[in-house]
Symmetry: C2
Subunit: 195 residues, 2 copies
């Protein structure tokens, strides 16, 4: 059986869990409490030397890391990866952008406020500015398209980006300023059966 090592509060881990649930795959969830240091034990590091969750262990014991790489692997040949070459390229553009220009700000600010309990004034202003820039970019993209990759249905890009966008308020980002993003969150949650 597949084993998913993850922290249940992490959007990166939840997006993989949602995909496994959606595909009806059998798997076992192993909770890795990042704050308690569970991802830094020698046992965990032997599984994933990068010390990052999620880490998916396949039936034969091989381990795969990086949430978006795991999504791509699990969703191969599914309708969540466009068959059109251009839409697929745009999907990948958003997947890489998510990890480079969204997660390091929106998710990190949320982690510091909601988990570490930091007060708003302790959060670096750079994090908030770049997080808002990421949300503004999504708002602009969604003004013209229903789904991020631009096609007629949702893709992994929507799944990957909804994970931290839907909880952005926990990081101090008021989504009232991004009505298009809010509508898209509801659409995406419905499409991927996220509760």
């Amino acid at each position: 059986m597949l084993i998913l090592h993850g922290d249940i509060r992490s959007g990166n881990c939840l997006k993989v869990k949602w995909m496994l649930d959606l595909l009806g795959r059998e798997y076992r969830w192993v909770e890795v409490d990042i704050l308690a240091g569970d991802s830094r034990t020698s046992t965990f590091l032997s599984l994933n030397p990068a010390g990052q969750v999620p880490t998916l262990v396949l039936e034969d014991g091989r381990a795969l890391a990086q949430s978006n790489a795991i999504l791509v692997h699990l969703a191969e040949s599914s309708r969540w990866i466009p068959t059109d070459a251009w839409e697929r390229a745009k999907m990948f553009e958003w997947l890489f952008w998510e990890q480079y220009s969204h997660e390091p700000y929106v998710a990190v600010a949320r982690f510091q406020r909601a988990y570490l309990g930091w007060s708003p004034d302790r959060i670096e202003s750079r994090l908030m500015e770049r997080g808002h820039a990421a949300l503004a970019r999504m708002e602009a993209a969604l003004a013209g398209d229903t789904w991020l990759a631009g096609g007629t249905g949702p893709t992994l890009a929507d799944l990957a980006l909804v994970a931290y966008t839907r909880v952005a308020h926990e990081g101090g980002f008021d989504l009232a300023a991004y009505p298009g993003v809010r509508d898209w969150i509801a659409r995406t949650e419905a499409a991927f059966r996220i509760r």
Copy 2:
């Protein structure tokens, strides 16, 4: 003809250029001087709202961003993307890891030292520590495998990671401590005809 907008000093841009050269694709290079603010003009932002290079403009005018997404698009059906599902998944793992755990440290330290002219003591110690952690992880991976994705030939993972690793010394990272990485750089440069 394809048009590649890029800063010639950027590893993210060079990796796309190397792939275009390798594939023998005709393209025009448009220099975007990041330090001079070229990626923040309204003309450039209308092309790529994220204001990032490289940006590849296709024959029909559509623009694609994110270096690793561009590589995946250009290299489709080539031998640089493994046909084996596991090796392909590992390739993607490294591509996402590169942008999340390597580039933000190794490339940023290099940018600050080599381009902004900062002295070594001005570079955040966190950047150097995480950059060294990334190099150590590569050294460990390459102790067991010739190529990062684990197969018998080089993949996009090697191309993406060599871009900033081969110039890591410009960021103050002494590669003498990583002999496996140094050998791999030479192999990878030869495989992708990087001069």
